[in-house]
Symmetry: D3
């Protein structure tokens, strides 16, 4: 089984880290193909970054489709381009935010999200609403550190995340913590030890859900709104998308 793990931003260090996190939980026989777009922002910290990055995600999905991967993962916590990718791909597509929410809801009755910048909180809240998890999530908590700063941070990063997680646990009754950024994929174990709660990394969760769908022979419903995009002309620099 080959699973394409798309880091929607263009930071290769993060792509590498996400790839390792994915491979670490993949079962023997699952090949992880970590990649990121050639074009786009080095980190995704808002609606604008997300909109631009979506094109790169779809480009990577196209490549994955040509390579006949068995599943695609979108490894940014805003799940950018998820529904567009589901239309565009024939294999299943999983976003790491949805993956983490699903897993969290299987092991707790209430969970919280710890993410990076306050300005991205609304993105997580919109996803929780769309997916149906608003009632289960006690809060989306922010450490106000830029995404790329995660790369260089030491133990104080974990402590900073732990502080938010503890407040969710003690003040709001959260029983599990969701890591709110693909760049946190290597921090789950340490955070879990620090706070005594299960911590869910969406990258790892998405790999297992992707393997699960493949094993079940399930893929995106091609009846209705997720059917292949309607063939039509595209103009200008997107003319190559015409069908």
């Amino acid at each position: 089984m080959r699973i394409q793990v798309i880091n929607p931003n263009t930071s290769e260090a993060m792509t590498h880290k996400i790839g390792l996190a994915a491979q670490a939980v993949a079962r023997p026989g699952t090949q992880i193909i970590a990649c990121s777009p050639a074009d786009g922002p080095v980190s995704i910290e808002g609606h604008f970054d997300e909109a631009i990055a979506t094109l790169g995600v779809l480009e990577e999905v196209r490549k994955g489709r040509e390579q006949q991967v068995d599943a695609h993962i979108i490894a940014c916590f805003g799940d950018p381009g998820l529904l567009a990718a589901r239309e565009y791909a024939s294999a299943p597509v999983i976003g790491i935010a949805e993956a983490a929410f699903h897993m969290a809801s299987l092991i707790s009755t209430r969970f919280a999200v710890v993410t990076t910048l306050t300005r991205t909180r609304i993105i997580a809240e919109h996803l929780l609403q769309r997916y149906g998890f608003s009632e289960l999530c006690t809060s989306v908590r922010c450490i106000d550190l830029p995404v790329l700063a995660l790369e260089e941070s030491g133990p104080e990063l974990i402590e900073c995340m732990a502080e938010q997680a503890r407040r969710a646990r003690d003040e709001e009754g959260a029983g599990a913590i969701v890591l709110g950024c693909g760049g946190m994929a290597d921090l789950g174990r340490q955070l879990s030890e620090a706070i005594g709660l299960p911590v869910i990394d969406g990258v790892a969760a998405a790999v297992k859900l992707a393997e699960s769908l493949v094993d079940l022979g399930l893929t995106t419903s091609k009846h209705g709104d997720l059917a292949d995009p309607i063939s039509k002309p595209f103009k200008g620099r997107f003319a190559y998308l015409s069908r």
Copy 2:
């Protein structure tokens, strides 16, 4: 990995069928332990049946715990005793209704449930509400056949289910169908062929989610409301539960 699949009713034929469905999707190395309570109703078709069956579920969870299984599955579409089992077990516990809903939401934007008796519809609706999937499910549709009649039915059963599924597809825009009864675990492929939509069987879905949680090293949060039951005396025939 050993996964205990608990059929909450006492019909051995159904236990056997559910066990086969589970084993069929389990990966090599996963052992399925299908079981059912010694005590309880032969089928679960309402709140009363469910309440009684819950005791049997918890008894089986206890046995599974003693056998140190890696995960427990509750294979009745009402997920009877799910939260109680999560308290009682140390390994993760998955209900087949929740499992099916989660998988359906990964491959469609709207899904429908096809189940047995109209009187059980409220059970599914309550679960959809509690889990957060109410907006994603277009309807819970019933074929008004008792659970045990599923065992003896021929092609007209598939046609009966297909009729409801087609209405969900064509009138409501459902892109995937969830099988609303553990006793339908062997009908997914046929139904899918009949209607051209992906069909999700909760038993199979639960096996993959259980494997996923084990792989991820995640289990029920033991902080808060799902912590082990508080030690206390039980009286009468439940005295053996005292701790």
Copy 3:
């Protein structure tokens, strides 16, 4: 009129207290039959306790039905077994949590719940959601005292409850307080005096709702999901439930 008040736990002292609270508000001519199961936990403080206690509740409902009581009350704040009991009984069945919520909503636009252990908060929250009162309830607040400790507590218990109630009143705008445990049935008056808000005890509220339904000639709808349980074989120690 004879109303059966079922204490779902097996603590006789609490049964006695609940019976007194019920009798205190029953009108002349209403006979209160307070009872509790022979089998089950001495207190209910989680999903597991609740699941086991439900069997005892249904056993008591059966006895009440044989005695042709006019209504049944389930006097534990999680309303354990409520829908199963409605199927099983022919007379109306009232849970004390729902009773308290209904009454609170008649005398305030926002109310709060003060209950015992934090781990039981989720039970109240699930009920609020299912019954439709989530928006009306500002919070479920916990004093983190075990249920049975209520029996032995002095004035500091009231002060502890009052502290939570005051915060709900002053910080959240709650206009009324719901007592979140059957074991608090004797504390309403004192708490109300301490905080200057109406306080609703579910046991008392349920007695009046039961009397009301009987007066109105209304009982559980036996059309649909609350109809009598379908006749079927039960196995093992539940064989006696076969019909």
Copy 4:
């Protein structure tokens, strides 16, 4: 105990009918004081009628307060002026719509409303939303007969209502029917016989809830938004309300 039953419209025949319905379920010792405003519309069939009728309701509440009644009932299905009356009165105030919804939710998991004109449906829907019962109500169904036409109708009226009720029962799974107009207060028994479901009349339901609150010593919370209106000058023809 004296309960004031206010018919918000100015049709004396309807006041008489509502008074009889209230007295029929009141227990011995409860005196029903049926009344209606001197000023206002002869029937309430929209927001405008309701707004004008609210003044009459409040006038009657004032009279009831001066007579020291133990509770007030607002006997129009839109519960006009309910929160204003709760501020203005010291005794509890019950609306017949809320009363019917509460009772219906105690005996069914899903209920429907059968009311008069389609244009009033939105009023019921707004109340269901505000009170929290939207999920429990399958539909508000209309027979498109003016309120006052209820006075003169024969058996075809019951059949017309029964047709809507049967559709709610068979197509939507409603287990109980709420009468959506005070003017239907005498039709419950016949409708129930016609359709085989419990039927709830809000006037009767409100009487029992009013008796219940009085027995429990509960009245409107006077802390917060339902406290007595703030003393202030009123001008013009409302100068008499100045305090």
Copy 5:
């Protein structure tokens, strides 16, 4: 274009202020007709005040209709009588609370309301729920100053409002502030400068929405529940409303 701006209370100073605020944003050619009822409370601070004031609103709507104004604005933050006025008028009717909510949602993803007395918070919350903005509003915050005190307040009033607005901004992530009282119509600019967020005054917002509807040739749908009130007799002092 002539727009009638109705101050529902009877304080002429406030009517004057509201009229100025309306005229300040009206475009050249739009005439603002500020008015207030002859009869009713001098300020609106609860459900009772609102119920009485509604009659005055409808009286003014009638006058405006006779003067053939192009739109009516109800300039009290509870939008008293809004739906009744929509029935009664032929021109469009806008409430200042709804107007402010609409505008706020166009320039922010989350907004907060700053209003006067805590007891009126429930009115705003009910409107947010009915209009669909509950999820977008982080909180309704109160400065606990009576409406008429707004007339006499100096710089400390702005600081008091700013303190609440800052908490909404910093603790809840509100990106815009809605002024929760018609009497605050002159405070928007100062508050905005104090807190660095856009501030929306409902009076100004309503004027622009009214102009917009008129330009679009849109008026209240007269099909269904907002059609003209049904002709019928009114009795007593409302006999003049008979048609």
Copy 6:
């Protein structure tokens, strides 16, 4: 005042039509600058088309910003890129879907949407949910005609739309109809005449809301999640976005 009206697809005929519709309702002194991207799909009929078109929308916003327009309108019913555009622009940005929903809610209590392809229904439903209008919209109805076919259709197009609108009116109680596609901007009057309900075109509605915001001196809150995008490197063909 200069308002940029961006047609997110690349069909010039539609851009022309949208520009005319915008100009028709703009007030004297408002200049409409209709434009469309050089790159992208000729029509938007799904998530994929929308994702690609979003890039073109943002390019046009950039141009509009350089031209110092006073407001931007995104004239495709899915409001593609709305929040990204709000970050990217300094002037206010309005989507035609949100504009139409806001206006519809000011003139009716329930409205319906009539749009093109069934596969785009989910896009409208997601917007209704995010904006808070789900409860107000009775249904999103589709005529199953591709967007570009709107250009060539004759009277049967209106009849086809009218049929759906009538069903929403008669079966669901919709009091107003929202046109669910920018390409329908010239059909409002005819549809309104055919069905006797107000019909809202989002392009026209957005122009008036844009004028309103400009008049009020309100623009997107630059505090929080809609602040200017964080400066950062972009790679590859998006390097020009680096700041």
